[in-house]
């Protein structure tokens, strides 16, 4: 697909390497000049992984797996340790069997049209911005796109989405603040059906996963949109702020209890945060990362490719 061929490797790399203290530079430091895999090296690797928000438990697992793999191998050069570590990390990110929508085929969309994507996440994660970028991407891929503004709660949510829709040159369905979000979603899908829209993206209000009533609202949205389009939503994307620490894992767990999450979008990776929580989310919940965001402009949406991510972290 067009988008895949279009990955801006340079931007991704720039985004991920802006930081002065890069994770894997540190790893190189830790292991360079040491031919044997000693405990201090592993300790230093642990520090580096944990500092990337990978978490104590997952970091320990990664290190254990790497250590076991290196047990039977004589080649413990710096390059080999790194490539083993990379492989272990990449495999975790590849472990999810869920399909990746960044790679979706024209046939699939045609089959479902409207293909419905629901976007959820905690407050300020980057949902609306991501939707603007996604709408733009699909539009450029040649699809007709419609956005539904089901954030009827946050002040000026409609206005924000309007601006993004204008940038992406797509239409938005919206209602007055305070309206029932499910009814906005319902109307959006009805409109999409009548007007033969290919892809519908629905924005939702930011909600903390601890708020039972707001989480139930998501269940309701899902139930209501099914009345118009039985297969909806085709995708539910959870947007996670790349700065988030271990709480992101709880977020993913909790959202999953109320609505099936098919993919992750990790935002704000243009800073110095690494978004290492994705390792546990991928392995524990079998949710793949579909996209990463590395800035605030339309072009800053990247398809997520584990190999690229891990490599960009290393370089």
């Amino acid at each position: 697909m067009g988008f895949l061929n279009n990955i801006n490797f340079k931007r991704l790399k720039e985004g991920l390497t802006k930081t002065r203290k890069k994770i894997f530079d540190n790893i190189s430091e830790a292991v360079s000049g040491k031919a044997v895999l000693d405990e201090t090296v592993l300790d230093e690797i642990e520090e580096i992984l944990i500092s990337g928000d990978i978490g104590l438990e997952t970091s320990t697992k990664i290190i254990e797996t790497t250590r076991n793999q290196l047990k039977n191998i004589n080649d413990r050069t710096y390059e080999n340790i790194i490539s083993n570590l990379k492989l272990v990390m990449k495999n975790i990110l590849l472990s999810s069997s869920n399909p990746d929508i960044s790679n979706i085929s024209k046939d699939k969309i045609a089959k479902y049209a409207p293909y419905v994507i629901l976007v959820v996440g905690v407050n300020g994660a980057g949902k609306t911005t991501t939707i603007g970028k996604l709408a733009n991407k699909f539009k450029l891929d040649g699809y007709s796109v419609l956005i539904g503004s089901a954030d009827t709660f946050r002040a000026a949510a409609n206005e924000q989405l309007d601006i993004w829709a204008k940038r992406a040159n797509v239409q938005v369905i919206k209602r007055n603040p305070g309206a029932d979000p499910s009814s906005v979603a319902y109307e959006t899908l009805s409109y999409a059906k009548t007007n033969k829209i290919d892809i519908v993206i629905i924005d939702t209000a930011g909600r903390l996963h601890t708020k039972q009533n707001l989480m139930q609202e998501l269940e309701k949205i899902k139930k209501v949109i099914k009345k118009v389009v039985i297969h909806a939503p085709n995708e539910t994307l959870l947007v996670v702020d790349g700065n988030t620490g271990q709480n992101a894992i709880i977020q993913a767990r909790e959202f999953t209890k109320f609505i099936e999450i098919t993919g992750l979008v990790v935002t704000k990776l243009d800073g110095s945060a690494k978004g290492g929580v994705i390792f546990q989310i991928c392995s524990e919940l079998n949710i793949p990362v579909n996209f990463i965001c590395v800035g605030e402009t339309m072009e800053d949406l990247q398809s997520f490719i584990p190999e690229l991510y891990v490599n960009a972290l290393f370089n």
């Binding site: 309007d162 110095s272 945060a273």
Partner: protein, 444 residues
Amino acid sequence: MLEDLTLKLDKALKKITGQGRISEQNIADSLREIRRVLLDADVNYKVAKQFIEDVKSRALGKEVLASVTPGQLITKIIYDELALLMGGRNAELSFNPSGITVILLVGLQGSGKTTFSAKLAKYLALKKRNVLLTAADVYRPAAVDQLKTLGSQIGVPVFSAEESKDAIKISADSIAYARENGFNTVIIDTAGRLHVDENLMDEIKAIKEKVKPTEILFVVDSMTGQDAVNSAKAFHDSVDFDGVVLTKLDGDTRGGCALSIKAVVNEPIKFVSMGEKPDSIELFHPERMAARILGKGDVVSLVEKAQQQIDSREAEDLEKKLLENKFDFDDFLKQIKMLKKMGSLKSLLGMIPGLGTKLKDSDIDDKQMIKVESIIQSMTIKERQNPKILNGSRRKRIARGSGNSIQDVNRLIKQFAEMQKMIKMFNSKSGKKMMNNYKNLRIN
């Protein structure tokens, strides 16, 4: 029936025996556990390490109260240090006594600045300040609209310049406007920015130069992970902020970034923001935050309670007796009384992590304790000190005197004999191993 009391005593014994001071060995496990807790709470790796080192070196050699384990004590010390570190000086907002108080809000994208600026405006308006909000986020789509909507909800005017993309000029103009129109407080909401974005960091520095804020507050999402130290430090280096605001604390994040940030910039945390409504703003409470990070508030309060209520002299005596194998019914009674002083048995046991939930349906009541107490109290001094003389007729008398059945009395005496045996063995070399058996022992 006495299972729970035994359990309690088991704990007490473990605490008393041979662990008088905090040493490297007797807190190693606890420290490992605390490290895990801190890292899981998103305390920065380096900060956690340093913090634990500091506390440990200060705690080594400290006397351990008879009623707690060294591990519990170190947890308590860590808790106290956490609260101390996160609290401290200058948590109050400062105001400009003569002119306009200018509060500048800065932070990363999506951290909650706009929502918080409305909350702060409302908070200060309620304190009879004349507040103006300034919409200086010229980048995020509809950020100005958002602030305007919030302003009208709380009845605070918002200064904005629709067509302008010059955040520095807007900020400066808003101060002039405030001066002309009798406002004594201006809150400037700025665009979210990443600390690695040099242009935007230059912009925020320029705003600072221009408006000379009374207070600069760094607004940070409490769910932030390890990188919090980097962004906080970069912002501090650039604008030297005066305080921190922790947002989204109404979620279930443990909020370890609060400790990390405090540790690297040493500025006070002034407010917490915990909801989407304009009045969900609170002053920062370091103790609450410490308990939240440790997730162990209950152990802490248990230790505190124990420290308050237990007469350590009495405990020392008891310890000695235990070591000399002279533990008798009198001491047993004292032990029970001590436990009772610490509150109801149920609430006490409920505070021990892991036990609390298990206890819910099991039926321990303090009546059991009262029963034991009444039996012992019906013994003569001689009998208490030398249980061996408790023959059939003495037992019958005690049962009658205490209003219990002879079976109850027999059971208690039997259990006590076993306990004595246990103590003896525990004091012997194989003590450690015995301790495990003791743990599994059920007396019914």
